[in-house]
């Protein structure tokens, strides 16, 4: 829905001049300035939003990346850092007048510390590659976003990525030890340490999930965990989502924290089963996948407890994986839910709100009403353990007006999430996509505070501008247009509006 505006002669000249300067210290093959080669970089995993970059560069050393930033800082040129481009919020969508700084060539695992269980890696290393390298030592890296075969650790840091094992093993922020990054001015900083904490305010927490607005990651030290002896998954069907939702609460009330706890609704079950032939019960209206991991003894004990609980709570079917192969097959349905849904619809749009689990039935019911209202089908895939909901809205972009209706529907879902005490994004990030919903979650004073915090890192606001945090002016416009809810804190002070000119 973003179309590149025609470039002025001045912009073409700037492209030429910057390309020449970058080519002085970066292999000219990796300084991309022609429209055809720029094309693959025009979006991330959310292809609804596209923009042509002025230039894409792929430096190979920290010094080269540093010089790119120094030049852009001096010239006032925006910079968008990019990892594997698998993000789902248009956070890595280029700036039309800016440079895309691809970190794809930083793909080395620098060190695996088997004794203190940590890995030091470059930002372009794929998430799964870390676990693969650590596997011979019986170790792995915890967070496992669905895109883990492709997504890079630098991008994981930028987005604070989650995955299906968050409830037990945490998000990216819980699994990092230190980060080395370049500021917009090209200064190389290290935060965190090889210890578990550092003195003073927690910059690691602040930097993680900052969506490329505060710095460009050049090196990461992650924690590694011992691989559990065993994992088994119990798959249970229920004849309604409320029962399945209650079952989730009951498992946790019993003191069991499953490694993964996922829910799918009837529509998603159908699509996944048709696609992956996982053996899901097609008569179920809700499906729970509960994975228990740990020592052999622990898994035996917890699996028995979970099975008994599902039976007690009226599950229509209960099946437990008896082999690694069966476990993989049962998960395959869930993991391919997105492409499976993609098969039954020309396009789909994935949302990412988080809600308190107790609100699940209410939210699903309200979403059904909206689905009827907009005339668009919706399938639900849910990280049930931590309340992270992924409604997939099915649409056809070739039908005039359908994309716009989908966007509006999606926006309403996120506002609903905030209304029930949740948030607009659990793991995908705000990026460009969810700017419009930010004022539903934050008031003006909070937005201003975010901008001021950003300027402490990036005075000229050149790093990934126009993402993550909306301008104050746009917040006010959104609210006056169609906001029917008040952001979560009342505006106690409206007098400060100096942020309006920034962002």
């Amino acid at each position: 829905m973003q179309t590149s505006t025609a470039r002025t002669a001045e912009q073409f000249a700037q492209r030429q001049s910057l390309a020449q300067r970058f080519a002085e210290f970066i292999d000219p093959h990796y300084v991309i300035a022609d429209e055809e080669t720029l094309k693959p970089y025009e979006c991330d995993g959310l292809s609804a939003y596209c923009e042509e970059a002025l230039i894409v560069v792929l430096p190979e050393t920290v010094e080269q990346a540093q010089r790119v930033l120094q030049i852009c800082h001096a010239e006032g040129v925006p910079v968008v850092a990019r990892g594997a481009g698998t993000g789902l919020c248009a956070g890595a969508m280029p700036h039309s007048e800016g440079v895309v700084l691809s970190m794809a060539k930083f793909n080395k695992i620098l060190e695996i510390d088997t004794v203190s269980r940590a890995a030091r890696v470059q930002p372009g290393v794929r998430n799964l590659a870390i676990s693969e390298s650590a596997a011979p030592m019986g170790l792995y890296y915890g967070p496992d976003p669905s895109s883990q075969i492709a997504c890079s650790i630098g991008g994981n840091v930028a987005e604070n990525s989650g995955g299906v094992h968050c409830l037990k093993y945490g998000l990216t922020v819980h699994n990092l030890l230190s980060v080395q990054f370049l500021t917009m001015e090209g200064e190389l900083l290290t935060i965190g340490s090889e210890g578990l904490d550092s003195c003073g305010m927690d910059l690691m927490a602040l930097f993680t999930g900052s969506e490329g607005l505060l710095g460009v990651v050049t090196e990461v030290r992650v924690k590694l965990l011992p691989r559990p002896e065993r994992a088994q998954v119990v798959v249970a069907g229920f004849d309604n989502v409320t029962k399945a939702g209650d079952a989730v609460g009951e498992i946790i009330a019993q003191g069991i924290i499953p490694g993964g706890l996922e829910m799918m609704d009837g529509f998603a079950i159908q699509a996944a089963e048709d696609f992956a032939k996982a053996g899901y019960p097609l008569d179920a209206q809700a499906l729970l996948l509960c994975e228990v991991d740990g020592t052999n003894e622990e898994v035996d004990e917890h699996i028995a407890a979970v099975e008994a609980l599902f039976h007690k709570l009226g599950a229509t079917s209960v099946r437990t994986s008896q082999s690694e192969e069966e476990r993989a097959r049962l998960w395959a349905g869930r993991k391919s839910a997105f492409p499976a849904v993609g098969r039954i619809s020309p396009d789909y749009y994935c949302m990412d709100g988080t809600i308190p689990r107790g609100q699940l039935s209410h939210v699903l019911l309200e979403m059904q009403k909206m689905s009827d209202h907009y005339g668009l089908r919706v399938a639900n895939v849910f990280h049930a353990g931590d309340g992270n909901l992924h409604p997939l809205i099915l649409f056809d972009a070739n039908v005039p007006g359908e994309l716009e209706r989908t966007e509006e529907f999606g926006g309403k879902i996120l506002e609903l999430c905030v209304e029930v005490g949740g948030c607009i994004t659990g793991e995908h990030g705000v990026g460009y996509e969810k700017l419009r919903q930010m004022p539903a979650q934050f008031n003006d004073a909070e937005i201003v505070q975010f901008h001021e915090l950003k300027r402490a890192f990036d005075q000229k606001e050149l790093l990934n501008p126009g993402k993550g945090i909306p301008t104050l002016r746009s917040c006010q416009e959104y609210r006056s247009l169609d906001m029917n809810i008040t952001p979560n804190a009342t505006v106690e002070s409206q007098q400060d509006t100096k942020g309006a000119t920034h962002g």
Binding site: D113, R117, C166, L167, V173, T183, L189, I191, S193, E194, G195, L196, S198, G200, M201, D202, L203, A205, L206, T208, G209, S210, L214, G249, I252, A253, G255, I256, I257, G294, T295, E297, E298, D300, E301, H302, P356, G387, N388, G421, G422, C423, T425, G426, E427, F442, A445, E446, Q449, F450, L453, K454, R455, A456, F457, N488, A489, E492, S493, D496
Partner: protein
Amino acid sequence: MADQTSQLIEQVRAAADAGRTLAIQGGGTKAFMGRAIEGDHEVLSLAEHNGIVSYQPVELVMTARAGTSLTELKAALAEQNQMLAFEPPVFSDASTLGGTLATNQSGPGRPWWGSVRDHVLGVRLINGKAEHLRFGGQVMKNVAGYDVSRMQAGAFGGLGVMSEISLKVLPKPAMQRTLVTECTEAEALKLMNQRAGEPKPITAATWYEGKLYTRLAGAASAVEAAAKAWGGSDLDDADLFWSTLANQQHEFFNTEQPIWRLSINSKTPELNLEGTKLVDWGGAQRWYAGEFDWEQMVSIAKLSGGQVSLYRGGNRNAEVLHPQAQPIQALQQRLKASFDPSGVFNPGRAYSWL
């Protein structure tokens, strides 16, 4: 139990308008940490701003006013068989949640169960412009906006007054057992790192005066199996041992000497320092009591991949937290200014330059 938010906001506004500085205080039990606050200041007390705002055991989420005592939180959780898994030190019944987060205090289970910041889901914060802001939320996953909530950990109140904090809470483990192994520090360090690399339900590893204490927690069968595999004698009164250690009432802390805390790479060999010592966090936290040279301690911490703080005692007017690289120092000053432009909160408490 009272909500004093509006009074707190008023006090901040009045101080900022009059150019006065404020010392934020909860129960005052952590006054010995950090630096002495510089210059004349008035106390902003959160002691009366207390009470649990909401607690939903099934959601594993608790929200409480910052001045709520840890004792109250722990009692409410215990009724539901849940806990604060970061095992904060309870110095007395006056110790508060806000102070725990501001000073980033976590107990022996920290390497396995996570720190206080790991359990924070959201905060409400009064900044230096007397604006009451909300960051994060009450759900497990929330990546909208910068993570200002967890950023408060270790900030010593320099970014604002936390009024309310939401936390992830966890069920208590079904069973706990503590194994005692007699060994030297060097042997203990080796064993701690080795055990932490095994997929067993370890939740604490501490060495003190020739004894390694390994805590196992989880499903009964798993705890039994791990205990059998690792061996060692069972510790009676294990709960008392761990709570005494978490609350820093262990005999190591019973000293008039300055206490130093090194947060370093867990595999760092035995340090060449004379003095009483206690190794915790599976080797990643080393406590020393004694008169040491600041520069020497900083250099040892750096060589060990970590940081040092003069935790208690000694000269509280000098720096007591590990020095920061110049650009990081400048960055922290700009961040402080973005929250607290006129420098109202806790000037110099964390660092002389902050």
